[in-house]
Symmetry: C2
């Protein structure tokens, strides 16, 4: 055991990186397997091709836009901060973009193959779609582990361990900032297209979802990929990288004497890649209903991780570890990691309760639709707010327990363990847009009703999975941000004392500066989401005008005699999304820098800002994503024939709710995740510049 | 000067009480003046009588319901706390109820007299309606000053100064708790009736507002009085009393050596009663447009107060005062009080910008209505969130400056100065339901179009005034709650050290318990408002079913051949409002007690809870009240003929937005004001019981 422990101590990070490479290799196997499936008939390939083309066109332009901003920031960091941080920034930014980009490319290949598989059997379709999602899942965790690990190793060799750890913050910033852009850009794109298509198509012209006569329908399907797939992948890549970096920072700031403390989070990440692979294989062999199989894959993955965490923890810390003056046993650390795994399960179950049509909240919204648009909205807003209670309560318990086991490091470990599940969770999430697209392709290609039934069922499951992973993403983001806040305080302390001053900052609630900070920080999620929703509204308005123009210019479109110009809609949304994402994405950076620069404010107010953003951000994000998911499924519940079914007054009201929920759950709400981390990371970065 | 100073030191509180009595006397003069106006023809008197009867019936039952709960709490306080606190609780509860009750009684007398005056001239109608509102305004400040002043004096004689100050917390609790009930009960009543009447009347049956064929129309008019008038009066009475008590607590905990510090807030209150009277007289003589005249009255009132504050401050503190070891000049204190007056103006202007139809936010919502229900809702939600930025920013500046001038006491003085303006602000607010009712009576009595034009114009002004006073109420409530949090910490310190222990509690953000507290506290406004909105939804559903039942049973109602049974709707809403208010009203009390009782939580977590509730409460309340006001006026803007006018697609969408905004701005949002204070007061009260 001692020899093994020594081995893990020297080889822990390399072993984790090998696991990451195994994960990436497995992803490539899956890609090969997907490509070998039939992409269907000509019509299907043609539609899938249009979606692919639109998605590629958008992402290429997004990459160019973001690259310009990234280049400016790189130069700023290079000259005003230090070179390693700037390089880290570049690596983080590149990998964050890559994770989303590659995942999205696979998703647009898997969609038509899922439709084709659906004509064989539900199980075949489930497996193709899930494997398509799994590629993204494995890419996210594999790339994140590799990027952080290799940078940490190489930079450590060149500039020494301490500076390397500091420069990791640059990598975190790169990942987070790009992720804010990807989330916002993708989120605005997907919802502008969706809302625009629905407003004219469903409400004014009475067309079905994905009707090929709707000029915005290709843009809508493109949106699923650039928002739900590429956006989410960048987001969770970022949370993963930040959690890992946060854990390393906390370890080096509070337990500098023990190298195992830095290696441990890498090892947890590496193990969970293996766990994710087991979960993915489970889907390929398990029979049964899709929802059950997918939940089983999460269970499998968590179980494998939980079992392997135990020996790894004991090998790395055979005698425990001294943290902030308190001796902790290996089991203390193991328990902290288990809390992270349990939190994943708890959050998934809670979000499922609030957003699945099998339970009261969604059914309540559906019932409220009977009395009209307004009561549907009121009920949905209330459900979203109710949905904040349990997750926040459990986050509180998780903080209390993991801090009890190992202080701030315990929280960091719990967060890392939670994030280590990202491989399997993102697989579920990316499954959503693939099945959504598969359904669209089935409708647009006029495939038989049986195929549509299969894709519809998978689409409904995919909807719940998307909602559930959003709960996971925001809960983990909140916890990761708290770790970053801890790092901010430690970093500030180190900076002040290194300058020969005594550190006497009090972040006490009795200090008015802290209260003001909490107010400023608390404000950020409110206006950030307000700007995001405005952006969707503006972009959707542009789509509505274009669709109306086309229908007026060529009335044959509605009778099926004329083909709509899908390309112009794709083009309009692309431009609008890229234009509208800039202001809200730069808002958090501007806030932090302003608070640091304005003299009467300063470091104590900034501390309040960081926590304020986390507190209100968590509530706003959960209320928006859960409320949005519930509205979506309330509409689906009515469409299944309840409360009058499709075409009824209740259905019209439910469509309104679904449309309001769209920017809530897919643009504003999820974009809060990377935003609260950008705020915290920028604060850490600017300590030596302004304080 | 010195002799005068000595006089103010001994006679300051009595002089303030004399001012309060003058205010009450002036209110009775106004009542006489209103009663001498003609109540109009038989039909008008009949309708006004029905509204009066419904309002009285509701308030009587509300008094009974609340009395039962108050009696239970009185007994608990009497036996588990101490007798003076219990008596204080009773006084606070009684006066809070009385302020709302009497104000509402006058409002239902002034409504028909305003309609009658409108047949003479706009100015005459404006003056009758405003004087009706002014009665409530003067009652609120007069009663609050008298209740706190007399209790403080009498209790001080009997049980000594220190115990008297402690028992004042009981008075604050009584006022706040009753105010939560009044706000919630009245808010649920008014919006259930309004939404219910609109859903069937306007949307299903295409009836105009206040159409006498709508069986829910009397309930709707009753609701304006019990919600906007009685609810708001109880709310601001409570904030006023709590601010005064908070200032006394802070003074006695931090500057015990200087009696002037306790007398000062009373004097500020007394002076502003005179200021309010000047403002009220201004309306009776000034010519011009209603909105300008009303704003002029606020300016007059503030100016008089600002001028008189200066000599009063210098007389009370000729040599300044020593606060927490720092010597403050009289001008420091004067500036703190000016900040409070300025904040009133700033908040009024900002809220006016976001909710008046003359500016961009409301027009943006109106424009978004052109593309449908969903885009109207999205735009309204975004406006509400945007509207949080400036008020919270200015609150931050006010905290920073007033703390700079005189520490926590400076904040308390700024808050008291802000609240001292309540006399004139509530006059504006109570003007709203009177003009709203006046319009309703004009329609139901088939008065000529000219009369309706006048009442419509006044109604629109009243709407803006109602929105503006909500901004004032929530901003002042947030500041008052912060003062209470300061008192909580000081009280806790005093309690712990009096038991011989050292006070080593850290309310630092680096302490996980504080973070958990912030999360728990931050949650409270979210689920509190969720429960409130659910309550409105449920009660409105009951109204919808009753209206549909009546129309089905007697089809002659719609043709005007049958008279609807207004009474059953009034009865249904009354019962539903009283039933539904219980759970949300007791939620904050339960939260605080649970956090105190559950062992791993305790006083530090509770401190976090208090601040967390204030932070998210402020945002949620402002977003809801401003968003709701903006939706309301966006509908009115369209009704003025913009974007297609009445009956257009945009108008239908705007009606949906207005309906969603109703529980936002009149139930859930404003009820947060007393709620955040209940949380803080209960925490102060239970310190000696649980810690």
């Amino acid at each position: 055991m001692t020899i093994l422990a020594l081995n893990l101590l020297t080889a822990g990070v390399p072993i984790a990186l090998v696991c990451a490479v195994i994960g990436l290799g497995f992803a490539f196997l899956l890609i090969g397997q997907i490509l070998r499936c039939s992409p269907g008939n000509d019509r299907m390939r043609q539609i899938a091709g249009a979606i692919e083309e639109g998605a590629k066109a958008y992402l290429n332009r997004q990459v160019i836009s973001i690259s310009v901003i990234a280049a400016v920031l790189f130069v700023l960091l290079f000259f005003f901060k230090d070179h390693p941080t700037a390089v880290g920034f570049l690596i983080g930014a590149t990998c964050s973009l890559a994770a989303g980009f590659i995942g999205m490319r696979i998703a647009v290949l898997a969609n038509t193959r899922t439709t084709q598989a659906a004509s064989q059997s539900r199980t075949a379709a489930l497996r193709v779609a899930f494997n398509g999602g799994a590629v993204t899942g494995l890419l996210v965790v594999g790339l994140a582990l590799l990027a952080v690990g290799i940078f940490y190793y190489v930079a450590g060799r060149i500039i020494g361990h301490d500076l390397a750890v500091k420069s990791l913050v640059g990598l975190a910033l790169g990942a987070s900032l790009i992720s804010v852009f990807a989330r916002l850009g993708g989120g605005i794109y997907t919802k502008a297209a969706d809302v625009g298509a629905d407003l004219v198509g469903k409400i004014e012209k009475n067309l079905e979802e994905d009707d090929p006569r709707n000029p915005a329908t290709i843009a809508d399907n493109v949106g699923d990929n650039v928002g739900d797939c590429a956006g989410m992948a960048a987001d969770v890549f970022e949370t993963y990288a930040v959690s890992l970096i946060g854990a390393i920072l906390v370890a080096s700031l509070t337990i500098a004497a023990e190298p195992a403390a830095i290696i441990y989070p890498f090892v947890l990440g590496g193990i969970s890649v293996l766990g994710a692979i087991c979960g993915i294989l489970f889907v390929s062999i398990a029979p049964g209903k899709p929802a059950g199989v997918l939940m089983g894959s999460v269970g499998t993955s968590a179980l494998v991780s939980a079992i392997l965490f135990w020996p790894a923890t004991h090998m790395l810390f055979p005698n425990g570890v001294l943290i902030s003056g308190i001796q902790r046993s290996p089991n203390d650390l193991y328990f902290a990691s288990l809390i992270g795994l349990l939190m994943t399960g708890v959050v998934v179950l809670i979000t499922n309760y609030y957003t699945s049509m099998n339970y009261r909240p969604v059914q309540k919204i559906a019932r409220a639709s009977e009395t009209g648009h307004a009561t549907n909205i009121i009920a949905g807003l209330a459900v979203g707010q109710h949905a904040t209670a349990l997750p926040v309560g459990f986050i509180g318990i998780a903080i209390l327990l993991s801090f009890h086991f190992a202080g701030l490091y315990g929280i960091a470990i719990a967060v890392m363990a939670m994030l280590s599940m990202a491989g399997i969770i993102i697989s579920l999430d990316a499954f959503g847009p693939i099945t959504d697209n598969a359904g669209g392709i089935a409708v647009m290609s006029n495939l038989p009703k049986e195929v549509r039934t299969v894709t519809d069922e998978l689409d409904a499951v995919g909807n719940t999975m998307k909602a559930v992973t959003k709960g996971y993403a925001i809960a983990s983001a909140g916890l990761a941000a708290l770790v970053l806040f801890g790092s901010y305080v430690e970093e500030l302390k180190a900076h002040i004392t290194s300058n020969g001053h005594t550190f006497d900052f009090q972040f006490s609630l009795t200090e008015p500066k802290v209260i003001i900070g909490l107010f400023i920080g608390g404000l950020l999620p409110f206006i950030f989401t307000a700007f995001s929703m405005d952006a969707v509204g503006k972009a959707a308005g542009a789509v509505v005008r274009e669709v109306r123009r086309q229908i007026q210019a060529k009335p044959g479109i509605l009778t099926g005699e004329d083909t709509p110009e899908y390309g112009t809609c794709v083009d309009i949304v692309t431009k609008a999304a890229l234009r509208e994402m800039i202001v809200p994405a730069l808002l958090p950076v501007a806030f932090v820098v302003l608070v640091a620069v304005i003299k009467p404010l300063g470091p104590v107010v900034l501390g309040g800002v960081l926590v304020g953003t986390i507190v209100t951000g968590l509530f706003v994000a959960i209320a928006m994503t859960s409320g949005g998911g519930a509205w979506d499924n309330a509409k689906k519940y009515i469409e299944e024939g309840n409360f009058g079914g499709k075409g009824s007054f209740a259905h019209a009201a439910a469509v309104t709710g679904d449309t309001v929920g769209d920017p809530y759950k897919d643009t504003a709400g999820p974009a809060i995740n990377p935003m609260i981390k950008v705020v915290n990371i920028v604060a850490i970065l600017i300590i030596p510049i302004f304080f």
